[in-house]
Point group: C2
Chain length 337, copies 2
Amino acid sequence: MKWFVTKIVEGQMLREKRVGKAFASSNIALCKYWGKRDASLNLPINSSLSVSLGSLGTQTKISVSEKAVDEVWLNGVLQKVDSDFAKRVSNFLDPFRPHVGNVFFTVHTENNIPTAAGLASSASGFAALVLALHDWAGWTLTRRDLSMLARLGSGSASRSIFNGFVQWNAGTREDGMDSFAEPLPVEWNDFRVGVLEISDQEKRVGSRDGMARTVKTSALYKVWPNQAQEDLTTIRTAIETRDFNQLGKTAERNALTMHATMMASSPPLLYFLPETIKQIHHVHQLRKEGLELYLTIDAGPNLKLLFQKKDQQMVKEQFPTLQIIAPFSSVLITSNH
Amino acid sequence: MKWFVTKIVEGQMLREKRVGKAFASSNIALCKYWGKRDASLNLPINSSLSVSLGSLGTQTKISVSEKAVDEVWLNGVLQKVDSDFAKRVSNFLDPFRPHVGNVFFTVHTENNIPTAAGLASSASGFAALVLALHDWAGWTLTRRDLSMLARLGSGSASRSIFNGFVQWNAGTREDGMDSFAEPLPVEWNDFRVGVLEISDQEKRVGSRDGMARTVKTSALYKVWPNQAQEDLTTIRTAIETRDFNQLGKTAERNALTMHATMMASSPPLLYFLPETIKQIHHVHQLRKEGLELYLTIDAGPNLKLLFQKKDQQMVKEQFPTLQIIAPFSSVLITSNH
């Protein structure tokens, strides 16, 4: 990781500000990332495609600390030096220190993602951290380079450097220099995402371990890389032609195929909870009745619903606790938190 | 189907009795059958392996009817001629009629499988029907031939012609003459099966349609035939060496891989109910705590548990409504029905 950071930032002129600031949106993958080809560089086996969540995400401020240790604040609370959160931030900053005068930092992170909404905060978190550091240092890196740096913190963070529909190319190079995200030049104002919280419990098996177990033990993983590639192409075309049903159908099948692939691992990986199944059947029943409603599920129990503005009222009636997001108008439409 | 029946029964001497009688045990697959290579002959894509359920099954009596229509009784109740059950029995008997004097039959079927226990009654049902017809006709077919005839009614019925551990060979011939079941010469007295009823609702999508949809639309089905073959070999070896944990682990993964493969279909096939997931997590938690307990699930929401006699008391405490079967002592140990 150290040499990778050096390769990208060397030659950059340091013109540090007193405080660097940045905001990054959270994102939800319509074609999922599952499986690493290189664990230390966070290089994925398959390309993925997401939609960002507008104003939902992470705001980060970074400045030089007076102390001989990083000070990491999360939503106004100072995190203990040996907490998982503070360690992850410090470890991420380590390879940058030789390039910025070997200083320690004060990092303030604010997530406006409603707590426990089932949205990964590591994606927007590492993206905002990289962008804030870049702002503080006064560097002039490209968004592509910033995407690769964010990737080192969390694979999906590579996508949170951009807004709207974003594709993260898996790349094929061993040094990871071709594994970055790119935005799709598309605005789709009527596109809606709903977040249905089912549990705020921590995952039983984290994504990193879950991916490794799936790649190593699931017979079904053989199919995943090619299927994901095919789904990505279908989803891209559906986005370009505004074919909502094709997009929804493919995104849902992609997510269920990912969960299926996990479930066939040894020991089995089952992220679903009873309520997850209940809500999947609910979505399928509504679709049978004619509603254009699809679902996607990340490595956890919560559902994300995909629909269009025209069906928003109906969807809200069926799922009263749903948090609805309009990704292209940067507005959180409803929240019960 | 007609030519197939003719091919098997032609040349048999008809020496009919007044009443033919037979009993066939139900069975639970440890390596599942999913996907047909020929729908009319019920030829499977993969071989499967089951354990029979001793005294749990179907008792059938057959005799010539005085009427110009079959009379089909189920558990003491005369079934309407146009009911699904009566039609399925009559359709099954049709290709046999030319060989037995073109008569109509009175069929009495008694299932002692506790109602709605989630055990397929078609397996023991068609096996008992074939055996009763064979008894009535006074034929001298081999068990192998009877297995192939039962297969025409329901694939898994081919296995219910035998007791204990039974393997149904997929075969490769187009005429289906090598697709029959065979018993494994093994007794395992301490082997236990538990049936955990979760719902007695009829399946949303029947096995026949579900198989067709999976084979046609699930990208993951590519893996299934080879994986099932590998699982079958592993399970056979585990049975021969009495390696319970290897058997349980492989049977569970086989079942979850089948459900995973279904789930990736379009539209998705999800036989799980919320309670199914709750009980899967329950089994996994107990196993983490050291209990040698595994699960299998057919195309429906109900769980079947696999364990050994030594753990019976513990399992019963954890699942008070469980119906426990000792396949090799032909006894239903507990039932709350």
